[in-house]
């Protein structure tokens, strides 16, 4: 934020920030029990930063909810803990593992942990009585998300109906709910991947180290480079080897691929993102590749 503006113009990044802060404050004012869904990835860290700014010097007036797949990168959990400690917010962890044990979701051995997150998340929202859940979804990520609203209404089953969304006019958000319904809120809807990186660079905030170039033992599967791990047993013909890689997205380590990269600083990452020729999901998210409509289906079920 520059000190003087001779022409009263805000850069686009400042405009995005102002818009997102407005959304955080609006939700805090209108909803009884908001919660911030935190994956530990770069998008949810930007959300944490925006929430910090929206309410400063008061603490963020709602807790943070993380769905733990049991297959999360330890580097990501470490970053999560640092943020939670620094901001003094309450962390709620909803474990997929526990949800399987409790019979809330069914692990049939074929369904990815990422998909089991849906039931786990909806159960946590219901159990805690949250009425608004902030998510880090961006409309540039995928075609089905282009139609998402900032306030995305979910029925009592947590479902999203693309044909039955409330029109969203000006910056006047309608937060009315019925018993059992909740709202997903996407404060960074209008940010692109490049905006996220620009902002992280500008703000100088901590993100998980796996976004930066590092040495890792990886193997090829379905055209992706996956992490060698006990959760990810090698199949016939697969060979793990040491490579210099980084992650463009973080999630369930059994599904999240990395890319070969020597980018070790934010400017180098920005450079790489700016010339990238494949979307972040297309490159590294196994769970979005199953069908052209995969994301649309998961959204309807109540995915982030």
């Amino acid at each position: 934020m520059a000190q003087t503006h001779s022409d009263y113009r805000l850069s686009q990044l400042d405009q995005l920030e102002a818009e997102s802060i407005h959304i955080f404050r609006e939700v805090a004012a209108e909803f009884e029990k908001p919660v911030l869904m935190f994956s530990g990835g770069k998008d949810s860290i930007v959300m944490m930063r925006l929430a910090e700014k929206a309410f400063y010097p008061a603490k963020i007036p709602f807790p943070v909810l993380q769905v733990d797949t049991g297959f999360d990168f330890p580097e990501v959990l470490a970053t999560r803990d640092n943020w939670v400690d620094r901001l003094g917010v309450r962390l709620i962890v909803a474990s997929v593992e526990q949800a399987i044990k409790d019979g809330i979701v069914v692990d049939d051995g074929k369904t990815s942990r990422n998909r089991l997150q849906i039931g786990t998340l909806l159960n946590a929202i219901e159990e805690n009585g949250f009425t608004a859940a902030f998510g880090g979804g961006r409309r540039d990520e995928e075609k089905a998300r282009a139609k998402e609203r900032v306030y995305s209404h979910r029925d009592e089953f947590g479902q999203w109906d693309p044909k039955n969304q409330r029109p969203e006019l000006w910056s006047l958000y309608n937060g009315r709910l019925h018993e059992g319904e909740h709202m997903r809120i996407f404060p960074i809807s209008n940010w692109t991947e490049l905006d996220i990186w620009d902002y992280i660079g500008r703000e100088g905030i901590e993100i998980p180290s796996i976004y930066f170039s590092h040495q890792r033992r990886v193997f090829q599967r379905d055209g992706m480079l996956l992490t060698e791990s006990e959760h990810n047993p090698l199949r016939d013909g697969e060979v793990a080897e040491e490579r210099t890689v980084r992650f463009r997205t973080v999630g369930d380590l059994t599904l999240t691929g990395c890319v070969e990269s020597t980018a070790g600083t934010i400017p180098e990452i920005i450079e790489e993102v700016a010339v990238a020729r494949v979307t972040e999901r297309g490159a590294t998210r196994g769970d979005d590749r199953f069908s052209e409509a995969a994301m649309e289906d998961r959204k309807k079920e109540g995915y982030f």
Partner: protein, 423 residues
């Protein structure tokens, strides 16, 4: 993704597109994304594969933007979709709205936040009822810049006469509207003429390409920097030892420039005070202007809460419970006199009673039908409301933030109307 200019010095243009599937709107957007290198290989490959599977002769760029399966199956676009691209100078947010008659509400939605409206016409068809309707809606929503893109020039042999005829007809129609800035550009989205690169087929056209115009249209002056308006959104009281007496009023500046030391009035109470300081996160700033989200501190301990408005002593809106507005009705159950609805204006929420429907506006002819006693879905009309709380409003023509409101059905919770205050 063109260039590596990061967002620090870039500005932002939001534009709404209107046109039907047949006008080639999706193809145009696909072309803008492709030629500004905002399309990734995996997206393009998917589109090429689908085009090939369908037996098309060319890559159908429209497939880049038609997002939902139900739409792909029906070959139409529903609802508003938002798309993003950037050039080295500017970031763009497109509100892509379907053009069909029943989707007026979506166009109003997309236009409500737009700096510029882009109306597409098919050069072979010329102006249609639909193109006129799109222009009317954009002007009602006070979108400051309008572009008419005359598309499919390749199908009329790039004939200047065809373009001139549409140009003349449209500019004549536009005189009846509020269009402060108009550009008419002949293009072929399919071939790429005058979209990003200048057309060699239309040497007779000397104006800007569409992309050049989008990149350079001046939007900074479209805001009201004179009339200070600050709707209070949230009161920050840390209740910690370190910030024991901190009491900040958080919100987004809706108009004007506010500085520490300014004499201000708090509405609706009418109490006056001075601005002690303005915070942006952990920094005190010397001034705040739209659309900054800031926290304002007053010198006196006056009672201020969400829904109040801070303005200047000699330049403040007068609180009013009788509202005269243009309303776009968005639900199948018609709007009728005596109906009660919830209303949200800036950060204020109350209830509203429909006193009178003065007329329905025919958005194709601008005819005012005064015999009507209700507004149906996707209709626009002039309505008088009585509200339970005084609204701190300006005419929409002066300020799109303090001049707009939404109406909510109290039973269903659904947004059923969009209002623009007259004055």
């Amino acid at each position: 993704m063109a260039g590596t200019n990061t967002g620090y010095g870039m500005d932002l243009l939001r534009f709404a597109t209107a046109g039907s599937v047949d006008d080639g709107k999706s193809t145009l957007i696909g072309r803008l994304l492709l030629d500004s290198k905002s399309i990734f290989e995996d997206q393009l490959e998917a589109v090429e594969a689908t085009s090939e599977a369908k037996g098309y002769d060319y890559t159908d760029l429209a497939l880049l933007t038609d997002g939902l399966r139900s739409e792909r199956e029906q070959g139409i676009t529903i609802d508003v979709a938002y798309r993003y691209f950037a050039t080295p100078n500017r970031k763009f947010i497109i509100a892509d709205t379907p053009g069909h008659v029943q989707y007026t509400r979506n166009m109003v939605t997309g236009a409500s936040t737009a700096d510029l409206g882009l109306v597409l016409v098919d050069a072979r068809q010329g102006l249609t009822e639909q193109s006129r309707r799109h222009a009317v809606i954009l002007s009602l929503l006070r979108v400051p810049h309008l572009v008419l893109a005359v598309n499919k020039m390749d199908l009329v042999d790039y004939d200047e006469v065809v373009y001139e005829k549409i140009y003349a007809e449209f500019t004549q129609f536009a005189t009846k509207l509020n269009v402060p800035d108009l550009e008419v550009i002949p293009i072929s989205a399919l071939q790429g003429d005058n979209v990003v690169t200048r057309s060699e087929n239309m040497a007779w056209y000397s104006g800007p390409t569409l992309m050049h115009h989008l990149e350079h249209v001046h939007v900074a002056s479209d805001r009201d920097l004179i009339d200070a308006r600050f709707p209070v959104q949230y009161v920050i009281r840390p209740k910690s030892d370190e910030f024991h007496d901190y009491r900040g009023y958080a919100g987004q500046i809706a108009g004007g420039v506010l500085k520490p030391g300014d004499e201000v009035v708090v509405l609706p109470s009418g109490m006056t005070s001075k601005i002690a300081k303005i915070d942006h996160f952990d920094t005190e700033i010397p001034e705040a202007f739209p659309p900054m989200s800031v926290t304002i501190h007053l010198e006196d301990d006056v009672d201020v809460s969400r829904g109040d408005m801070i303005a200047r002593v000699k330049n403040a809106p007068s609180p009013s419970q009788d509202i005269d507005a243009m309303i776009c009705w968005m639900t199948t159950k018609p709007l009728q006199p005596r109906q009660k609805l919830a209303i949200k204006h800036t950060t204020r929420t109350g209830r509203a009673l429909v006193k009178d429907i003065q007329y329905r506006l025919d958005v194709n002819t601008l005819h005012r039908d005064q015999a009507t006693n209700e507004l149906g879905v996707n209709e626009i009309g002039r309505v008088t409301l009585r509200t339970t709380v005084p609204l701190l409003c300006d005419p929409y023509s002066k300020n799109r933030t303090t001049g707009s409101f939404i109406l909510i059905d109290e039973a269903t919770g659904v947004t059923v109307g969009a209002g623009m205050i007259n004055g």
